[in-house]
Symmetry: C2
Subunit: 647 residues, 2 copies
């Protein structure tokens, strides 16, 4: 079994320097002519000199009368002066050429009286007052815009005003993305992925990113894991008009990773292995004067390779100043461990809690596309750092405009489908609010409230001793964090089984049956606690349940296990069973509450939380909950008190 060996890793700056050194930019990038009115965003490839002046002649800067200023000097309050029309004054509108013999403009508001032949004024006018003089703005033949400047929309105005109809600019960088892999499916064929298959999307993400930088991007069909086919696709890319050819996936050290070997047939590998996580197995090479990139296959790694390596090179090729992201200070809600020796990029969910931004690291798996879509910011942990402590302030790069963070409400805790309804309803407000929810179980939500990582947590923890929900745990774990408990819904939990219930499961007592495979929820999940209670009631030990140690993190994931036959049953909510057309054996009703920090209520109420409560208490929202099935809304929106149980 042949596997590739990584070249020694280099840091990002070294990798970029190697590329800039190896590429002949002047040979690769050509000049072209573009119409001036469409030139915004382009980069000048030669200095631009004004052809016309602006204004072309002295012109009136106000509506009123062009005057001979000398004739007005005696005018003052109580000492009116008359100006003869056609001789000492002439009516002008803004922009009119100053008539011969006039050297200033009197504002119309200064005319006290007027008849057929004259006007009367009591204010003197100084020479050249309210006159825009020849070339005041632009002087013909002077430098208007130097070479290598990125043109703005404003520059379009300067170009046209100066009589420039077209100009020489640098080509836009053209990228060509070649997705690869036997297991990846072309989305254009609208595939239904079988086990082991994935829908190819990286090429489209990279193309969309490239377009957002002002590059053009083409994507080609997926190439199977075959060195000859890959070589043919690369050859085609190198012969195309692309400046940069990107091969997606296959850049690592697996048995099917042919990227490096194929690139070596055409050119020289500059870098294989960059000291950044994710994104490490990136390849940078030069072939036939073009940049060839081997991008990692995992979505997050591919994005890092693209944003940290390809973006700065594309800027350099287009002679644009590369702009790193705007950074803001954030307080870390959790400790973030990090491997020394590698720069790590960690995506963060960020919300405003009181006066500062609080950041919770999102799941760091390189395969988690949703860590890209759910992040508001990104944190760089330098190579020499071993990790960052909870509570410290660091600067994070914004992935969304700063005002969007102020419109984000973080909710951490147990997952429930009614949160999806809530998230969608919040985005329907006149001032939309984005709900950023992290699903870490009910107890995780309590921890997040305690550490100040969130102001709102979702929880449904049953306490068998008191026959109550949430309050006993709040008393134990949040002694110093006053919270208000508002019910979101009463929901039905039960056993999710395959359609038609082929294993004839009737209740929790069946879980100990030999050969039956259960799928569990993660430790600390409210559903797990409920299961343990019912197992205990039925006199069943966890060891008797096959699959008790197989954990999933959401109701839907449990249901998917049942749907696909990976398990025969699992405990979950009705909504999850219904969504996948599975059967459901009701076991219990339970209260799903929102725990809200009191610091964000009352007279210092957070307007986002106020909006959330208004929605929760609306009849429309409660109807939507009931339409899901498996929910009751008798308590929805009501403030709970200890001992209320199910009302």
């Amino acid at each position: 079994m042949e596997r590739n060996v990584f070249l020694s890793m280099v840091d990002i700056a070294t990798a970029l320097a190697a590329v800039k050194d190896a590429l002949d930019r002047d040979g690769l990038m050509r000049r072209e002519t573009t119409p001036a009115h469409l030139a915004a965003g382009r980069v000048t490839a030669a200095p631009v000199f004004a052809r016309c002046s602006s204004p072309t002649f002295h012109s009136a800067a106000m509506d009123g009368y062009a005057v001979q200023s000398a004739a007005t000097f005696a005018a003052r309050e109580g000492n009116p002066v008359q100006l003869r029309k056609g001789q000492e004054c002439t009516v002008v509108n803004t922009g009119n050429s100053l008539p011969e013999g006039m050297d200033a403009v009197l504002m119309i508001e200064r005319v006290l009286a007027e008849d057929e032949t004259s006007i009367t004024i009591e204010t003197p006018v100084f020479p050249w007052q309210h006159v825009r003089r020849i070339g005041e703005d632009i002087v013909a033949t002077e430098l208007l815009i130097p070479q290598n400047q990125t043109l703005t929309a404003y520059d379009v105005g300067a170009l046209l005003s100066a009589g420039i109809w077209e100009l020489v600019v640098w080509e836009q960088v053209r990228l060509r993305v070649i997705p690869t892999g036997d297991e990846v499916l072309d989305f254009r064929k609208r595939p239904e992925p079988a086990p082991g298959q994935v829908i190819e999307s990286n090429s489209q993400v990279l193309a969309a990113l490239a377009r957002s930088w002002g590059c053009t991007a083409a994507t080609v069909e997926v190439v199977p894991d075959d060195p000859e086919l890959l070589a043919a696709a690369l050859e085609q890319g190198l012969e195309s008009d692309a400046h940069v050819v990107i091969i997606g996936a296959g850049s690592s050290a697996g048995t099917k990773d042919f990227t490096r070997g194929v690139i070596e047939r055409f050119g020289k590998i500059l870098v294989h292995g960059v000291a950044v996580m994710p994104g490490k197995p990136s390849i940078l090479a030069v072939a036939r004067g073009k940049l060839v990139v081997g991008a990692p296959g995992y979505p997050v790694s591919a994005v890092v390779c693209f944003e940290e390596l390809v973006a700065p090179i594309a800027s350099w090729l287009e002679r644009k100043i590369f702009s790193p992201r705007q950074t803001v200070p954030v307080v870390l809600a959790r400790k973030i461990p990090s491997k020394p020796g590698m720069k790590e990029l960690v995506r963060l969910a960020v919300g405003r809690v009181g006066g500062c931004y609080v950041a919770t690291p999102l799941e760091r798996g390189a395969g988690m596309i949703t860590s890209l879509t759910r992040a508001q910011a990104i944190l760089e942990i330098p190579a020499q750092t071993e990790g960052l402590e909870q509570g410290i302030e660091v600067r994070a790069g914004l992935l969304v405009p700063e005002p969007a963070i102020d419109r984000t409400l973080i909710v951490i805790g147990s997952h429930d489908n009614t949160l999806d309804l809530l998230a969608n309803a919040l985005m329907g407000l006149d001032e939309p609010i984005r709900l950023a929810s992290s699903h870490v179980g009910s107890m995780g939500g309590l921890s997040a409230l305690k550490s100040g990582a969130t102001l709102v947590a979702g929880a449904h923890i049953f306490d068998p001793d008191s026959d109550d929900y949430n309050f006993p745990f709040i008393a134990r774990h949040l002694p110093e964090t006053p919270v208000e408990v508002v019910n979101l819904a009463i929901r039905h939990q039960g056993l999710i089984v395959q359609k038609g219930n082929p294993r004839a499961i009737t209740g929790v007592q069946d879980l100990a049956r030999p050969g039956l495979r259960f799928i569990n929820r993660q430790r600390a999940a409210g559903t797990r606690i409920l299961l343990d209670y019912h197992l205990k009631q039925a006199g069943i030990a966890p060891e008797q349940v096959a699959g008790y140690d197989k954990e999933e993190f959401t109701h839907m994931a449990v249901a998917v296990n049942v749907l696909t036959g990976a398990a025969d049953c699992g405990l979950g909510i009705f909504a999850a069973a219904k969504a996948l057309d599975l059967d459901f054996i009701p076991l219990a009703r339970e209260r799903y509450d929102l725990l809200i920090a009191k610091s964000a209520l009352g007279k210092n109420v957070d307007p986002k939380i106020e909006a959330l409560l208004t929605i929760v208490r609306s009849e429309e929202f409660q109807e939507n909950i009931r339409a899901l099935g498996g929910y009751e809304t008798t308590l929805t929106g009501r403030v709970m008190a200890p001992g209320m149980g199910l009302g």
Copy 2:
């Protein structure tokens, strides 16, 4: 003469609220379907639920072996365990479906030995290690993206991975811009403007801005100042597919300002007059359910109307979060007076001087297109403020990416065409530097050095008493600001006269000749001081020179006066005469120096100034200077000392 009357002015927030109140957004903006892979930048018009899970099945997260984790538990250093291929382990690559019976993945690096039938390991593997589990990233049927969310390139990945091929989004806002005015010329006809005419460019600036926000923009032909023609154009706009119709110019109170009257035929004026300078004469109206905007005619006013009023409404129509500009702290190099009662927007040239950003207000005329193109930032002076003092720190909104400011070098002082050469050469560097030069005359440059507004000033002030340049003035005005003086060039000053010298001017003694019209430079300009010296030498009093009190601010502006016959002659440099093909009567050679603050030299050298000096001292640059004609480079790049005169 009929003139319009402004409605009472309202502030921007009130104006925007009136529009949002009057427009029926749901009626105006439609939903449409877009392919998912092209959806970046669009806004969802309905919630999107995942169709497929990701991963679809448990899959290997690493290259290596899928294993039965239970078979590995005994393995540790010194206690190797053998796993039988096909039974306890199977080779997998990243992304492969986990084979039946396996529940974890062992990294390839952990395999100590391998033969045909087994592998040997010394590390235990825990259940589900290096496995991406079903739905870990995306769970089918769950909410993927709520309504009204602006999609990113990352979201494209999530959509495709979840099996979403197309989705419902809100239409992009379509704008239609109608330029108006008898005096404006259509740039498409490549016109040569006559006196009183201007090339229409506002519509193209507005269209380019709109495109940068993700809107589409159409522009139509210029409509003359005729109410019936304007009404026809507006009617056509209202019947087109545009959501917003913008009428350029004609929104003020001049005799030809028909915009308001014409709009009133079709709909209702909501706002006429906004308390912002520039931009005051803006009109906002609703007609046939669409927004109609009357934009002021001056370029800066039009941009303010567009950015402050149209942009937030366009965001609101598209249901995007409106993002104001990022702000940075800047120190004001000059006092900025402001009218109370009006919010004022002042554009700033910003450069880094030492540890902070220093901002110099640019010329505030609403007609100055170059104040748009030359600004790095914009300052909002609130309505209740009378002005801002020199030296205070304020926050200004960035008009360029922050790194571009660090690449900007401010030069304030006298203008010379060699500065244009320098600006262009600096942009040709590997790390381009943008020269932002303000032309305020030599003495203005000294003031700017003194106040810390700049580190570099251009000056050519002759002192008749010492027969030296610049140093006597430095000694007098900059006693506490050590500067190094580096010569840029020796240049020829002379009388610029019309081609063929029809007035037969031979020297300064002719300036007193009756009927001859002179054009002067502004007070404090080095050229003006030179003139005064030569007049004195010739025994001529300023009063004897017709036009002595007519001032221009640049050499080229003086030359344009001569070219157009506004004056018979003026004092200026050879380059200006040559550029406009005028004749030149040499009068004197003079030294044009760069005065550089010593704080930015030596061991704390500013790398931008270092780069500037390297260019000035290069043979290539000096050749380019000589090619202009009228310059000598015998001193160029050399450090000057008092008393050196012309070397």
